[in-house]
């Protein structure tokens, strides 16, 4: 078979590129063998062995490139030589296949010494291992994942505290660290308040209520819901509290949690007493007297009250919180009685449909105090008040739609409104329903425009109620700020456009709803 060659004098290519070209040539039509090599003595030997060394190639030297083709006819070898020229000139595309992602926290941290916080949201059974890896790499951790064992939580927090690291979670949905909103969190101003919260939406509610008063925060540390259990010992709340006490930027402390175990309560209050900064303590449903007795500590019964007291301590020009709340109450009661007059006699009951667990909990506390009847829930204050079927309300009901029973295999109601809308329509069909209470939580992580979808659904719900000849009252609060991507004002406007009564806080909304039906009992 004839051999054809081209010599490119003084043209250097690396040998691997050349082998690739040769490979392409060998598989082109009519070509039986091809070589594209620098004409070194060794390579010429190889060409000779392969029967590809013609006279021109023999004469070439090691600075020259030889392209040698053995093909069945002239046309094939000419085509192949042209292909070789093209391939040699072809520039490798600058665009490359994506950037490299490290496979482990260990290597991500090694490659980026500036990394300082790991956010972990993988399935719970794997999450503890990753949290360990992050802590060992010296990273603070936000552990969003649920279903981490109590033993793992205790061991992780012990290690974290010993090494001066935050281990927020497991199940910590919200944190604001160094001005950055993590998970479900809002755009907040910087300011003098340092918050530690065992409750995610609780943290969102107090921080946004502070923002509504023009008061900003230093940090919003989420501890995860189990932190104040006896077994965990409030490790992260205590560590966060100590750090904020020592932080020069933090002037006022705010703690949010359900009532901790007795031993933990004592430790937390001792820590507050040992410092110099005022601390507002909102142990939702706890006994305020225990807190009242402690130096530096100020008790608050609701998230709203906590935010107002804190704002005042932080320098907001507000009147005494008790007076402020009394004033608001008068307005709410007046509003309630005018609302109440629209209702048919059988419309007696409240239905709260919540996306935020702590807001559901706060509502139950308020309703329990203001209403004579039982308040049922899938996440009740007392076991006796548990809804027999979470999918069906009875009497006064406050349903936490963010509970696991609703979210398995489904997005959280803060992200996806479908479940809540279906439930809203279901409640509207119940002729006993007087008021539907909604929380609308916005900010990072939340649905991009929840009020738009909810407002539409409220319109539909009104039509359903109208078929019974009823007028439905819908009350809501928006947990969010003007700076949030969804916009507090825009969300409020959308809701009000659907005749939803929007209150300034969840607590106020809960009270308004209660006063509406309270008035009705008075009538009877």
């Amino acid at each position: 078979m004839p051999v054809k060659s081209i010599i490119k004098v003084g043209e250097y290519h690396d040998s691997v590129s050349l082998m690739l070209v040769a490979q392409a040539l060998s598989s082109s039509p009519g070509v039986s063998d091809a070589a594209v090599v620098m004409a070194t003595e060794a390579n010429k030997g190889i060409l000779a062995q392969a029967g590809l060394l013609d006279e021109a190639a023999s004469a070439a030297n090691s600075n020259d490139l030889v392209i040698a083709i053995s093909a069945e006819d002239e046309a094939s070898s000419t085509a192949a030589l042209q292909l070789a020229e093209t391939l040699l000139k072809a520039k490798v595309s600058a665009a490359q296949s994506g950037e490299f992602h490290p496979r482990t926290i260990h290597s991500a941290a090694a490659a980026h010494p500036e990394a300082n916080l790991a956010v972990i949201s993988i399935a719970g059974r794997y999450a503890a291992n990753e949290a360990w890896q992050a802590l060992r790499a010296g990273l603070h951790v936000l552990l969003f994942s649920d279903n981490v064992s109590l033993e793992d939580e205790i061991a992780l927090k012990k290690y974290a505290v010993d090494h001066g690291l935050l281990l927020m979670g497991p199940g910590a949905g919200t944190a604001i660290i160094n001005g950055v909103a993590l998970g479900f969190a809002n755009v907040l101003p910087a300011g003098p308040v340092g918050i530690v919260s065992a409750a995610g939406t609780g943290l969102q509610e107090v921080s946004t209520l502070l923002a509504k008063q023009g008061v900003g925060i230093t940090q919003g540390i989420g501890t995860g819901g189990r932190d104040l259990k006896e077994e965990v010992g409030g490790r992260m709340m205590l560590a966060g509290l100590r750090a904020l006490q020592a932080d020069p930027a933090t002037k006022v402390l705010l703690l949010v949690s359900k009532p901790p175990a007795a031993s933990v309560t004592e430790e937390v209050l001792d820590q507050i007493a040992s410092g110099t900064k005022p601390a507002v303590v909102c142990f939702l449903g706890g006994n305020p007297a225990i807190v009242q007795a402690v130096p530096n500590a100020v008790p608050a019964r609701t998230l709203q009250e906590a935010a107002l007291i804190t704002a005042r301590l932080a320098g907001a020009s507000l009147m005494e919180t008790a007076d402020l709340l009394k004033q608001e109450d008068q307005q709410l009661k007046a509003q309630a009685s005018s609302l109440s007059s629209r209702l048919a006699p059988e419309q007696q009951f409240l239905r709260g449909l919540f996306s935020g667990g702590t807001l559901c909990y706060e509502t139950q506390l308020i309703w329990q105090e203001l209403l004579a009847e039982a308040v049922y829930s899938n996440a009740p204050l007392r076991l006796a008040d548990k809804l027999p079927d979470s999918n069906h309300s009875q009497g006064h009901s406050a349903v936490d739609l963010g509970e696991e029973e609703f979210t398995v295999g489904r997005p959280h109601p803060m992200i996806d409104n479908d479940l809540r809308i279906r439930r809203l329509l279901q409640e509207a069909r119940d002729p006993g329903v007087a008021v539907i209470l909604l929380d609308v939580v916005i900010g990072y992580g939340a649905h991009p425009d929840p009020a738009a979808e909810l407002a539409r659904a409220v319109g539909e719900a009104r039509q359903i109620a109208a078929q019974n000849g009823h007028k439905l009252i819908v009350v809501a609060s928006v947990t969010g700020t003007s700076g949030d991507p969804q916009g507090l004002e825009k969300q409020t406007r959308l809701l009000e456009g659907a005749q939803v009564i929007v209150c300034g806080s969840n607590a106020a909304a809960a009270r308004l709803a209660a006063y509406v039906v309270q008035d009705r009992s008075d009538e009877k």
């Binding site: 691997v16 082998m19 690739l20 040769a22 490979q23 060998s26 091809a34 070589a35 090599v37 070194t40 003595e41 060794a42 190889i46 062995q49 040698a68 490359q96 296949s97 490299f100 992602h101 490290p102 496979r103 482990t104 926290i105 260990h106 290597s107 991500a108 941290a109 090694a110 490659a111 980026h112 500036e114 990394a115 300082n116 916080l117 790991a118 956010v119 972990i120 949201s121 399935a123 794997y126 291992n129 990753e130 992050a134 603070h140 969003f144 505290v161 090494h163 001066g164 690291l165 660290i177 160094n178 950055v180 909103a181 998970g183 940090q219 750090a243 020592a246 932080d247 930027a249 992580g445």
Partner: protein, 467 residues
């Protein structure tokens, strides 16, 4: 203890490592905060995370010690000698080979070819037929280079009268040995046979070796190979499949001494030509340098660091720091390669040679990002080469302090392969290598890359769990 670190964290700019939901990363990114996405995958079911050995040793501590020893090694070329005189345990009827232990019966084509060639070269057989009979007779003792502080590329054959480089690790005092590199093409280490192979080997013994040896004798401090490797990594070598810069640096280092000790200008010229025309001359220095650095890390109780990776063309074998005498083996893999004209994958022998000592020591395939000129092996772009190295950090316990990669902002090379990390991530060490023809007598047919076989790491991990 102190919580001062939590306060220290307040006010610092965040850099976030995200493991899990992309939405979590996105909302943080929207706030202008840098986020590193971890390409996380669930671990193999049932794979234990080992932190301490059965005997209670903290593995991370042990590994830190093993890596400290590797990183602090300083291999220096101190001289040359004849194998039988300088390699411990070497004798006239012994032939050292690459890889884990193997019998003549299981030996692959190129390794057999090289044994046959070595017996002819030694004058123990008149011709190749006679050599083959002798090799099969049991009169020759075969032993892995690694059992004699030695390493050999490809077939890795060292016979008694071959000249060898002598390296000394100045930090620990241990020595390592390797032959002089013959060049590419039809050469003994690829199983090549024939008069030109023997003639070249003889010339290397009678002219090359004495010339280099005389020069080295005038250099009381020897030639610091750690320094040459570090420099070569900055000049486009990864010191396994590309040794062009290292070879040049070596010539510069030894040049004046060669000139001063030369007795014959023509011989000297041929020596310089020989080295200049063989881009892989430095491989036979970068390999024993790796061996010299790794040996002090052998025998650290509780360490899961790999101290040897070696192939004999039949088996791929590894050894762990904590079990330095034990080989864990798996069938040697097929190289994904680029082939010389007239050869194809059908001609290729499975992966062969001790040259994976370079990857084990933290260069070679580990330092792919340093060698943009040969990135075609890993898919063609410098970015892919960088990714290859970045991926290797996933399975190494440490990073080298002396060997750095300019393209990665002078980050240390991935160093100290941790068998735990290999199992946890499923990422296998990247190997750059040459390809030998599967039949004895042919020689080199191409070059390419592959990953080490998983089975030997699994076996080593299983054994490690029990110590």
């Amino acid at each position: 203890m102190s919580n001062s670190k939590i306060q220290d964290f307040f006010g610092k700019p965040l850099t976030i490592v995200n493991i899990g939901l992309g939405s979590m990363a996105q909302s943080v990114r929207d706030q202008g905060v840098p986020v590193l996405d971890v390409d996380w995958r669930p671990p193999t079911e049932g794979l234990p995370r080992l932190h301490t050995t059965q005997s209670g040793i903290d593995i991370d501590t042990a590994n830190a010690e093993a890596c400290r020893r590797i990183k602090s090694g300083r291999p220096v070329l101190v001289g040359m000698g004849i194998a039988r005189d300088v390699i411990p345990g070497m004798h006239a009827h012994m032939i050292l080979h690459a890889g884990p232990p193997i019998t003549w019966e299981r030996m692959c084509g190129p390794q057999r070819g090289a044994v046959i060639g070595a017996l002819v070269y030694e004058g123990m057989a008149q011709d190749e037929a006679q050599a083959e009979k002798l090799a099969a007779s049991g009169a020759i003792e075969f032993s892995p280079c690694h059992h004699h502080h030695s390493v050999g590329p490809m077939a890795g054959i060292i016979s008694a009268s071959m000249p060898v480089f002598i390296l000394e690790n100045k930090s620990f005092g241990n020595r390592a040995f390797a032959t002089q590199n013959e060049g590419l093409g039809k050469v003994l280490r690829y199983g090549g046979l024939g008069p030109e192979v023997y003639t070249r080997l003889k010339w290397m013994e009678t002219d090359l070796y004495p010339t280099l040896d005389r020069a080295l004798q005038t250099l009381p401090d020897g030639i610091d190979l750690r320094s040459l490797i570090a420099q070569a990594l900055h000049m486009g070598d990864e010191c396994h499949n590309r040794n062009r810069a290292g070879t040049s640096l070596f010539l510069r280092a030894i040049g004046p001494a060669l000139a001063r000790t030369s007795r014959d200008g023509e011989i000297l010229a041929r020596v310089i030509e020989f080295i200049d025309r063989n881009d892989h001359f430095f491989l036979n220095l970068s390999m024993p340098a790796g061996k010299a650095m790794l040996e002090p890390a052998e025998g650290v109780d509780g360490s899961s660091i790999v101290t040897v990776m070696a192939r004999n063309g039949t088996d791929f074998g590894i050894r762990l720091s904590s079990m330095p005498e034990r080989w864990f083996t798996a069938p040697a893999g097929i190289v994904q390669g680029l082939y010389f004209p007239q050869f194809t994958e059908a001609d290729a022998n499975p992966d062969i040679g001790d040259s994976t000592i370079t990857e084990t020591a933290g260069y070679g395939g580990m330092a792919m990002a340093a060698a943009p000129a040969i990135v075609k092996f890993v898919g063609g772009s410098p970015q892919l080469a960088t990714q290859t190295t970045l991926e290797m950090y996933e399975i190494t316990f440490d990073e080298h302090e002396q060997f750095t990669i300019p393209a990665l902002n002078f980050r240390g090379t991935p160093c100290g392969i941790d068998v735990r990390l290999v199992m946890e991530t499923g990422i296998l060490p990247q190997i750059n290598t040459g390809i030998a023809h599967k039949n004895p007598g042919v020689g080199m047919v191409g070059a390419g890359i592959l990953r080490a076989p998983e089975a030997c790491f699994r076996e080593a991990f299983d054994a490690f769990q029990r110590i």
